[in-house]
């Protein structure tokens, strides 16, 4: 009811605040018998870790994941997997100004109104830092889905601020600090350097995808696979828009163009983005999301204080000039969690009637 659990069959309960003793999550429903160690989780967590380039926040968090339960002799036991990340870089900063004013674009005002009090340290529970345990949980899902079905998840940057990023190939993504599918990122470097100097921030548009998807995942009303994806993506800090397949482009398409033809070797196109009627088609999942500019900026902003009196606020400290950059591994993880949950739920209802989930070419021939 309070909503800190993501998923129903692979249910991840998240806890913690940005500057409390620790953050973490509990995964309930992990299939037993899978080999699992910290080494499976740390690489993805490190991909979203702060302080890895000059284009992201310089906060230095080790983000070391501990597995507190659910694994025995290196294998999952089917009992809850608790993942813990200690907060190490909690600067003994003075939060009195942040506590006394509402920062535009932040959740300061809404948290205070909802709960009657709030933890102002580093954004408290509203911090994007709380996505780190989800990335770790997503890594568990990714491993299982890869082993079981060969499903893989990938994300890349499509646009940063005003700069559209052409897609040259997935192989470039790990080679630059922007998760850009591009060989030469000098233009992005220049753009980001200038942005940082201005003290301002910018938005971003990301693409996330899943390949080797089985057919048949998703509960048509209302837990459609695409509805679950939209929920997961819009739940990531700062996301303001979600598209599946053709997305908003479908508005000006004709039905004769949009509807993907079926052929003996598979669908001819993928305007659907891999989902029809809320159920996976076996095509790649294609998702695009919009991430708003970082709200913590050095440019002075008009606001009010706790008494409602007008004032100004500047957010000092170490902040990402484009939070969208570190969102790529987060979006991948959330997509993996959605697919994982859908697989387990599908098995509950349909395991006995159907042959193993298969892609179109195999099943339709």
């Amino acid at each position: 009811m309070s909503g800190n659990t993501f998923g129903k069959a692979f249910a991840v309960t998240n806890f913690g605040e940005s500057h409390g003793p620790a953050i973490g999550c509990v995964i309930d429903g992990c299939p037993p018998g899978m080999e699992l160690s910290v080494a499976d989780l740390q690489p993805d967590v490190d991909r979203r870790r702060p302080g890895t380039s000059r284009y992201v926040t310089q906060r230095q968090e080790e983000d070391k994941v501990e597995i507190l339960s659910g694994v025995y002799e290196g294998k999952t036991t089917g009992t809850p997997v608790c993942l813990l990340i200690r907060n190490t870089d909690q600067r003994s900063k003075d939060y009195s100004e942040v506590a006394a004013k509402f920062r535009p674009g932040h959740a300061d005002y809404t948290y205070l109104e909802k709960y009657g009090l709030r933890d102002p340290r580093g954004g408290g529970r509203a911090s994007a830092r709380l996505t780190a345990p989800m990335v770790a949980a997503g890594a568990v899902a990714k491993k299982w889905l890869l082993q079981k079905y060969g499903i893989e998840f990938r994300g890349c940057m499509q646009q940063i601020g005003d700069v559209e990023i052409p897609f040259e190939g997935w192989e470039h993504v790990p080679n630059n600090p922007f998760f850009a599918p591009l060989a030469d990122v000098s233009k992005l470097e220049a753009y980001m350097d200038e942005l940082r100097k201005s003290g301002d921030s910018c938005g971003a548009r990301l693409r996330v995808t899943a390949i080797n998807m089985p057919v048949g995942l998703g509960q048509p009303l209302f837990d459609k696979l695409d509805a679950e994806i939209a929920y997961a993506m819009m739940g990531i800090n700062a996301v303001k828009g979600v598209e599946i397949g053709a997305g908003f482009g479908c508005v000006s398409q004709r039905g004769s163009t949009h509807g993907d033809s079926l052929t003996p070797t598979g669908f001819a196109t993928n305007n659907a983005g891999g989902v029809l009627g809320g159920i996976s088609t076996g095509q790649d999942l294609e998702v695009s999301i919009a991430i708003k500019p970082t709200s913590s900026i050095l440019v002075p902003r008009e606001t009010i204080d706790l008494n409602g009196a007008p004032t100004q606020v500047i957010t000092k400290g170490r902040h990402d000039p484009c939070v969208g950059i570190r969102a790529t591994p987060i979006a991948e993880a959330m997509l993996a969690l959605v697919v994982m949950d859908a697989v387990l739920r599908h098995r509950a209802q349909c395991a006995d009637v159907l042959p193993p989930l298969t892609p179109l070419a195999a099943s339709a021939t």
Copy 2:
């Protein structure tokens, strides 16, 4: 788990198929003591009913709502409210062709793969007809939210196919068959007439909004108000994209522009779309959705049959050339259901700590 229930505190369980004996829903969690009769539900259901203009499907369904439970002497009792709509216009059509081929853009293939069988009559469970009970349930939520907080929900068309629709005023919406906020819809009429003649279909973009919103609704992780909205909207048949506030426009915004300033009389702008950190700000909720072109068209399409052999399919029958048109009352209803659920959930946790939910001007002064 199987996903046919929408909401947690105001939980609506949907049932039925397009051409079965009846469709309907059960509302669990409706507050007791509210006056309720069919007269409260029928107007919204009639707004989405087929056959009301030449621009929508000519299927003639009365869509008469019956209240089977949960109301005694004209008041809700707090027990489940079952709403039933009998299917009256089930033409004794021959579905053998539809049953033997997969229609592009439809859920034929995915349902068959998921369940091992499917009901081909009128799209079965995948039909947009299943939104009718949600519109009725949404009307219950709308009535309660209006009485209790003065919250109102409105929707209008922003674009049909290639035609962008300027916003002239909400008062025009009920006066034309397109839900267009526009005095003169002759251009739309001409566009739609031509489209219908071509046997093809087009997409649409809608706006839905809630006014007089209280502050403090939404569960920040993960059942954020915007995440729930995205889930609800993407769960409507044919929706491929969802935006909150600035939406995809935020990608090229600067932080200094996007973050809405707070002033003693309220927020200066609404790029947030009424949600910060997953919690309502008290501003209007602003949501935009993209709806794909109708998949049932007269233009012949390439596809495969049940044996995987290539073939063609034409979808005869009575279909909406733009399903987006009738989606306006559906989107309003789904938004109302999200807000209703958020209010009840908020009360569970926070009822004792806080003063009654209030908008910014009042609370911050």
Copy 3:
């Protein structure tokens, strides 16, 4: 949240009031592809139907089940199955006295305090009549579990009022109106005839069991199979106690006696009642429940009216002198729903790791 849904994977949402237009339920999560018709449901519903002997209420309800959705060409489609039972014997009785006084042992007072109003007709939502849709839903589960695993459910009477009923054999149960496992029920007939003449009522103790149980069902914390059974049984109207296996008898047992030894051919005894650590052992489930005396009696009772003033009340009308009698098929149905839910949930998490669920003898050899 409002609790009118039973189960998570095989989720049954119940609706209706005793004297409203209809009662019913929606089953969400039913596996697809199972043959299902009203003929599968009606026999169990008829077993709990009123008016079948002089030892139960003479209310004449046909209790005809209709299937409104989820079945196509005689097979379940995997979509929600709505089961409807019209209320036919709604006597135009004067409920003003019942509405003005609180009947001892009834939910009159608690409903009014909880909801601020109540439906006094025939007990409204608190009527045991609301178990009829659960019996129908249980019949769906029974059919599937029998086909899939050979699991069968049986119930019988162990005690009526002061009369202990020796167990002579299951074959007697359908041959007498008391569900007694006894050839000669003349003693029970005499007891019940006398009770009825006195205008009073009595309690009962029932046994319910499941045979051919698979090993491995149940979620150890907290949705243990026995915890779910206790929840299901205590949720039946008038139940005040639940035992699994040795039950309260375990208090004076020694550990050396209670713990069931394992042998190469199976467990030597069944003090566990078929559950260890919340997970099924493959032995028969053994459950015993206590049902309180009917609260509607002709004997005058002290009570208060709506103003809190002392008064007396007599409950006229057609009532069961021992509600426990008709509870046998209800308890069987609820046990079937618990097992069904546990099977589907088990498949979600463990389907890929394990061989098909097997009983001890087979698996341990």
Copy 4:
């Protein structure tokens, strides 16, 4: 779905294994603004801690609770409260024998069959040690319920093995190691000393109660307050039976006796145990539970090994001769969690219609 979360509105997700690094829980839905520190939790946790008398296991666990999240400057923030207890006394014991044989009365066999593997160290997840975090979570609920409504929870021993314990008064309970409501416990001491020498174990019967209960708690179908209590109690390790109010005694009662009369000053009796129609009456909740004898005993038992071959097993180590003794604070905590959840859920649906929840005398006058 996997069931490691208890409650819906005050949802406690439990994690950990007996001999893993740590055990704990995450409370989701805790009302904000309540003062909370470890000092509120430790006393109850200490009451169930092992090693406190010679009548319980000598395992030495400090059971120090840490609050990892959800509290800021000494107050709950409304965000998840993670409670952690490090396992300190994990003896480097040889578990090879336990791992190779199934101990009668234990969950060894069922865990292995369900998950395909199991953690044999100290019972793994099936250990009663996992109730410690629930006791801590229960302490949070107790504090809030006491402050808000004056509700208090109490438990005591009613019977240990063959020794019935007369009720002399609640004041005795904290003064003896048996939670006995009795001044002179010498008879119990002698009984337990003899039992321990025999290497065997015995069962117990406990009473738990809540006083100053509000009227109106509980969701009538199916999350009745008594059904939730039965679920909670049967979910405690080793519980085999649950009674509410008159319990199994109701079987031989007459309706004219069982139904509690209402008078202007309240109910005359409490056969209902504080619940009618699944909703609290405002009377004390009265619950009784049966706890089986400890399965870990020194008496040799017949069993089978992993290959299904017959063998014997003795459970050495430090075990409670009567696990029921330490179950008293556990049962209190679980009852508190049920009531807490019911209060929050009641507020969601009914907060606006009703006056504050009140007991009978006040409301009916």
